[in-house]
Symmetry: C2
Subunit: 189 residues, 2 copies
Amino acid sequence: MGFGMGRVSDKRERLIESATKLFHQAGFKDTSIADIAEDSGVPLGNVYYYFKTKEDLVAAVIEQRTENIKEEARRWDKIPDPRQRLIKLLDLQLSMKNSIAKYGCPIGSMCQELDKERPPVAREADGLMDWVLKWITRQFEEMRQKQADQYGLQLTAALQGCGVVANALKDPKIVEREIGRLKTWIKEM
Amino acid sequence: MGFGMGRVSDKRERLIESATKLFHQAGFKDTSIADIAEDSGVPLGNVYYYFKTKEDLVAAVIEQRTENIKEEARRWDKIPDPRQRLIKLLDLQLSMKNSIAKYGCPIGSMCQELDKERPPVAREADGLMDWVLKWITRQFEEMRQKQADQYGLQLTAALQGCGVVANALKDPKIVEREIGRLKTWIKEM
DNA sequence: GTCTATATGTTGATAGAC
DNA sequence: GTCTATCAACATATAGAC
């Protein structure tokens, strides 16, 4: 081990952390295992002790992302007003406006890229998008909105869409404007 | 030449056509020059007579896509009512619902992928998105909408967003539902 | 568990005969 | 202008010493 008894190496975590960052910034295809090894400070050959394939690594990235968002949602679910829960989600997205303008929405861009390259793993990314859509829709249901399904899709698509447009135009203000509008819309419901 | 006097080879066009299709279906990175050569029936080595680099080829693909959409828009611009022009755009997108669910919006997915891989060419794809946003916004201006900018962004993002969500969930009905809603919205303006 | 060296495969791009 | 053969670079993944 090299760390003394009981002390577990954090290399696996560091690899996931670097992979998460680099996949988002440069994309899955353009990030080599060597890039991830260098960024995380783990020697190239050692990466394969933790992840047999690059696909296993991206699967771990998606799994962790999924865990993180579900955990956040569990916290939001404790807020009594569903409107306020949606505002929390919008604020989270808003806080990422700069990174979204530079690299796109982490979930949306990953779905789109993996879909074209790794159909097996893509299902897990797509599952996360599905989960988000359903969570958002549930908030409208709890508001007793008859058109909860439509509103859920509308809000999810608006979030994804402003990510794509902001990324293409490299302008965080686009995320700002669109999320501002969405917040007003939600508050007026 | 091999075709007799004056007869120009259509290889260049066929290469662009195949590249357009394959880049959309499989993505830029996962489509090799060999794939394009095979699909278009042009021998591998000959591709480089028409396009010095793969980047030149994708640039030609974007240029042609841009020409096509601008030409379509010029036709729509002859329609007196801006609402009807937007409906035309929505109908075009609707007609691609199956391909969008399978491979994503051709413009949106190309912007996102190239952005992460080929910054120089990406600008041209991004420019197309910018052009579309401005064209849509102009329609709202001609409707004398005070919030034309906001509506333009809103509609563009909604279109892109439903593409991303439909692609993730592999469900053309998502495009159908969201575009149906958008058409109603436009008509009621 | 860790790391160096390397096998193996694929790709973009070129050389050069025709 | 066309096409075959091939180079050079780079990526994933493995072998095997430590």
